[in-house]
């Protein structure tokens, strides 16, 4: 293993993040705070409890997921797309790095950033609504697995994208709708039966449901199914990334 290479990429990505800390952290924290103010405090106070949890507290896991998914994808996709666009990718390609080291460096850094952001949002939420975490270790596990798998997914998008527009398309047109419709703001029990069934096709539902279970012990689907689904997603992304890097698809001519 070329650990110095992994470290170089990891530090490079973290330094890039620190240079734009305002945009990297302040923006998602601000937007999440706005959600808490509007849905948690203003509207939430007029809504009943969901599964025995106040509405303000109920939406915390979903809102964290919303931010983590967007940040993981945004960070990791930019991390590899930018060198492709600027041409500096020649150095990455000519370095003694295998697919494992590339992923550890880029996806590792994106995961770290998402985890830090998740923790910051959790702390921010405390300012608006009281909550408790029933299974803190599981919460961290879900946070980690989600951050890893979606950073990996973001990396794939960065490898695949050939224009800035495409880089933005997937998060905007796919992830945001899936998160909103995946139960970030409601339990699927509140939906008509047909919509409940359709929602089961949304992979983000399993993330939010498992994550919410770690907070309050309530879930839309069994927590075991959530874990299996995340691992499946992770595996598919990992195999695809490996294939793309080894074959040089959209990386090497």
């Amino acid at each position: 293993m070329n650990w110095y290479g992994v470290k170089a990429i990891y530090q490079f990505e973290m330094a890039r993040w620190l240079r734009t800390l305002g945009q990297s952290l302040a923006a998602p924290v601000l937007s999440t705070s706005l959600y808490f103010i509007v849905f948690g405090t203003a509207i939430g106070s007029r809504m009943g409890d969901v599964g025995g949890v106040s509405y303000g507290a109920f939406i915390i896991p979903g809102l964290m997921m919303l931010s983590i998914l967007n940040e993981s994808i945004g960070n990791a996709s930019f991390g590899i797309y930018f060198p492709k666009w600027s041409g500096t990718v020649f150095e990455i390609l000519s370095a003694p790095l295998s697919w494992r080291e590339l992923l550890l460096g880029y996806v590792g850094a994106a995961t770290t950033k998402s985890m830090l952001l998740g923790c910051l949002i959790l702390a921010t939420a405390r300012l608006f609504v009281p909550y408790e975490i029933q299974h803190p270790l599981w919460m961290l596990c879900f946070l980690f697995l989600t951050a890893v798998s979606f950073s990996l997914f973001g990396f794939l998008i960065g490898l695949w994208a050939e224009t800035w527009e495409r880089l933005q398309t997937v998060p905007l047109l796919l992830i945001t709708p899936l998160t909103f419709l995946g139960g970030a703001f409601y339990s699927i029990d509140m939906l008509p039966p047909l919509w409940q069934k359709l929602t089961l096709l949304n992979p983000v539902l399993y993330l939010i449901s498992g994550f919410r279970w770690s907070f309050y012990g309530i879930a839309d689907v069994h927590v075991g199914i959530s874990v299996v689904m995340i691992f499946l997603f992770l595996l598919v992304c990992l195999l695809t990334a490996r294939w793309m890097i080894v074959s040089g698809y959209r990386l090497k001519r």
Binding site: Y4, G5, R19, E91, P96, R253
Partner: protein, 314 residues
């Protein structure tokens, strides 16, 4: 084509082919050996395949067929060992605009699997006159300085094989001379250097051997000195006291030409030949009572030779 033995060859390219997805064949069965410690100049017109060849050796482009070894390691199966030994200065000025010179050079060293070594980075930056700029962001640097940064990055991990793809394109005279010095210094330190260039003068000045690539094929590999001897021509131009209408019949057996409205008599001879025939020429001119007030000898440059080779192949 000169032969190299496996022992002194550091880069061995065998049967290398490259066909791009759009069907364009960039390389056709390239066989080439680079000797340890030499400066090898790869010459060829635009689009001949120089950069493709370098990019395949460095792992940036996948070959369609064939193999490359660097210091005995296959560049695909043993890419780690191979790539750790290779440094590449690309043609385009692709740099991380927002990084400082120091950070980007340090990054390159790590990327190639070497532990941090500030003393080495300092040495590299100083040798390239970049030390004063070490804390500046790359986007504030001029094109020539960016080129130096790319060289510093390529040298950061102490490669034993260095590829310089058009290292002095768009670089001013002073910097070009600085770079020649750096390259010679590296050669002294035992680094093998493969460079492509449009400035044939550069190859003439620096290279030990020259390879010519045309339409994806290596058409010639030769010691520079031998090439200049074999293909170079020398000329002796005599400024006549009296202009001539035509070469006298007694001298037509000699390779003579008139130019400059008959005022200059040009004698062309083979640079390789043991006997140049100049003494005989001067004797016979004296016999014919042809006098001159000045004479100048010149020899063809590598550029002339290169242009001739390319022209003859087309």
């Amino acid at each position: 084509m000169s032969e190299t033995t496996a022992a002194d060859s550091i880069v061995a390219i065998k049967g290398l082919n490259k066909r791009y997805a759009n069907g364009f064949v960039a390389l056709k069965s390239i066989d080439l050996e680079i000797r340890r410690g030499e400066i090898f100049a790869l010459l060829g017109p635009n689009g001949a395949g120089k950069t493709t060849l370098i990019n395949i050796v460095c792992g940036i482009v996948n070959a369609s067929a064939g193999s490359v070894t660097a210091d005995g390691y296959d560049t695909v199966d043993q890419f780690r060992q191979a790539r750790m030994r290779i440094g590449l200065v690309p043609q385009e000025l692709n740099t991380d605009a927002f990084e400082t010179v120091w950070a980007t050079t340090r990054f390159s060293r790590g990327l190639f699997g070497k532990p941090a070594n500030p003393a080495h980075i300092e040495k590299v930056l100083r040798s390239l006159s970049l030390w004063d700029k070490k804390d500046e962001k790359i986007l504030t640097l001029s094109g020539g300085m960016k080129r130096r940064v790319l060289i510093a990055k390529a040298l950061s991990h102490e490669p034993t094989i260095l590829f310089l793809d058009e290292p002095t394109a768009g670089v001013d005279v002073e910097l070009r001379h600085d770079m020649w010095e750096v390259v010679h210094g590296l050669r002294e330190a035992g680094v093998t250097i493969i460079l492509t260039t449009h400035y044939i003068e550069e190859a003439e000045k620096m290279a030990d051997r020259v390879g010519v690539i045309l339409n994806g094929e290596i058409i010639l590999v030769e010691e520079k000195a031998a090439l200049m001897r074999q293909l170079g021509k020398r000329q002796l131009a005599l400024q006549l006291n009296e202009a001539m209408q035509q070469i006298p019949a007694e001298l037509t057996d000699l390779p003579l030409e008139l130019s400059n409205e008959g005022k200059t008599l040009v004698y062309t001879f083979n640079a390789q030949g043991e006997s140049t025939g100049v003494a005989e020429l001067l004797n016979r001119l004296a016999t014919q009572r042809i006098s001159f007030h000045d004479l100048k000898s010149s020899e063809s440059s590598l550029e002339d030779i290169f242009v001739n080779i390319v022209r003859n192949q087309r």
